[in-house]
């Protein structure tokens, strides 16, 4: 099976500072992969580099096509949805407008309405609030909205940057359950960056561990979860 996303020798820079030092990894179609690492390891930068939001070199291929030189919006239009850290909610617009924005680059306008309904099924809380300004939603609700907005693209690949950040444990469980469901039922390949390693490893089938801009370990999520070093450093037992 060929990989859906292939990243080779990715190096990224913030001004003079190099944040990634030759990262290589690949995602299989339909997989749910997690990228683990400590603060400042380069997880967010990796996701941003895929969407060309940070200066980088190296080869990034999506479904066989090189995407390294495409602008952010053109990467997204290929079907790569990115849920950024901090969620990027359009706070002064309504929930429904946020969802419509998710589908703004799609040409099949007729299906958008039914997709919005589908999102309300996944996330019933959004249906109750659909005319409300998104800025008035709670953190957990905004994260649901961010995921729903990303799904409105009908993405082939979804990148999530620390979806659990700042949320209560119960809400995180709920969110991760939904992510698993989306991965299985809608056949969306998912790459999730997390600091909450335990949850991420329960959810994922593949995992990479990243340290100071380099991949230091990769493999099956279960094997990684049982690895002595990972347990000590990331799981804390």
């Amino acid at each position: 099976m060929t990989a859906m996303l292939n990243v080779k020798d990715l190096r990224a820079y913030y001004g003079q500072v190099q944040a990634l030092h030759g990262l290589s990894f690949s995602l299989n179609e339909g997989s749910l992969t997690t990228l683990l690492g400590a603060n400042g390891a380069g997880k967010t930068t990796t996701l941003r580099a895929i969407c060309n939001m940070v200066r980088s070199t190296g080869a990034i291929e999506f479904e066989g096509k090189p995407i390294g030189t495409r602008s952010t919006e053109n990467v997204v239009r290929l079907g790569i949805a990115h849920v950024p850290q901090g969620r990027g909610t359009f706070t002064n617009m309504t929930v429904e407008e946020n969802l419509q924005l998710g589908a703004i680059s799609r040409s099949d306008k007729n299906a958008i309405g039914s997709d919005i309904e589908r999102m309300y099924e996944h996330f019933p809380v959004l249906k109750q609030r659909y005319t409300q300004q998104a800025g008035t939603l709670s953190g957990g609700e905004q994260q649901m909205l961010a995921v729903a907005r990303a799904l409105m693209l009908r993405p082939r690949l979804m990148l999530l940057d620390e979806p659990s950040f700042g949320l209560a444990p119960l809400i995180v469980r709920d969110l991760f359950r939904i992510l698993g469901k989306i991965n299985r039922e809608e056949k969306v390949t998912i790459l999730v960056v997390e600091q909450n390693a335990q949850l991420a490893l329960e959810l994922a089938d593949q995992a990479y561990v990243i340290e100071t801009g380099r991949i230091v370990m990769s493999g099956n999520a279960k094997d990684i979860a049982n690895n002595e070093d990972v347990r000590k450093s990331y799981l804390g037992y």
Partner: protein
């Protein structure tokens, strides 16, 4: 009391000029977060283009439509050529760019059409409106056109996909790119629309102030004032702000002794500063809360 009512009516009539211009100011502010100091000159140039078309024998409404189309295209071209390269430059550099554009357009218009005052026609006639000496049919028509533009803008931003995309690009560019919006083109589109609205404002204003290269100088200052008074984030507020400035200016001139034409402008501006100090987001604007 009758004097008061009359002055309010006259104020609304002048206010329509400011409201028209303020709408264009708000449009560009929404798209690029700056006040474009060259906006008045762009509108003046468009108005000259329409005048020239009419001189060549094009009927009024034909010239109107052609000019709006020309202005839309010109706004986009100016953005692509001159201001897109400055997108990453400091804000102050952009402001210097606006001033440079101002100087260029004013000077070129003066060279082509010289600085003499020209009559400009109105499609609405200039007889008294509903028997009132204070407001002419042209001014009533101008108010109508302004409100119509406001309505169209409301529908554009609320119910069309492009309008939604423009709002998204203006409020959060990075998130907008992440849903696949080409934010750079949204800015160009904002320039085009602001330029088109400005051209309509110019064609409505020209019959009142007469056509000449410096006709928009005062109008633009009042347009800024009106936009800021009403709130730079609200097209509706901008139009209301325009009427309020017009009314206030007239009342001050009538009731406060010693205020001749000379002091009208400073007093109107002082009022605006007072409003801003009390309510920094303007009367109808949305308060922007900064998260720390």
């Amino acid at each position: 009391m009758e004097l008061f009512a009359n002055q309010v009516l006259a104020g609304i009539a002048t206010g329509a000029i400011y409201a028209c211009m303020a709408l264009a100011v708000v449009m560009i502010y929404q798209a690029i977060d700056h006040l474009n100091f060259a906006q008045g000159e762009m509108a003046m140039f468009s108005t000259f283009v329409s005048w020239q078309l009419m001189q060549w024998g094009v009927p009024y409404w034909g010239a109107f439509v052609l000019t709006v189309a020309f202005s839309f295209a010109a706004g986009i071209i100016i953005e692509r050529l001159l201001f897109k390269p400055l997108a990453k430059a400091p804000i102050l550099t952009n402001v210097a760019g606006f001033i440079a554009l101002y100087a260029i357009i004013n000077s070129v218009a003066g060279l082509i059409w010289d600085f003499t005052i020209k009559q400009y026609p109105t499609p609405f006639g200039s007889s008294p409106f509903l028997g009132s000496q204070l407001i002419s049919t042209h001014q009533a028509g101008m108010i109508g056109i302004t409100l119509l533009m406001l309505l169209l803008l409301f529908f554009f931003f609320r119910f069309t996909r492009v309008g939604l995309a423009m709002r998204a690009a203006a409020s959060l560019p990075e998130s907008a790119r992440l849903v696949g919006i080409n934010t750079s083109w949204m800015i160009a589109l904002g320039w085009g629309m602001a330029s088109a609205i400005g051209s309509i404002a110019g064609m409505m204003i020209a019959p009142v102030v007469f056509l000449e290269p410096n006709m928009m100088l005062g109008v633009l200052i009042y347009g800024f004032a009106a936009a800021v008074l009403g709130g730079l984030t609200s097209p509706f507020g901008a139009v209301m702000g325009g009427f309020l400035v017009g009314i206030f200016e007239n009342l001050v001139g009538t009731y406060i002794p010693g205020v001749g034409n000379e002091l009208k402008l400073p007093i109107a501006l002082a009022l605006i500063i007072v409003v801003l100090v009390v309510k920094p987001a303007g009367l109808f604007g949305r308060a922007i809360v900064k998260r720390v």
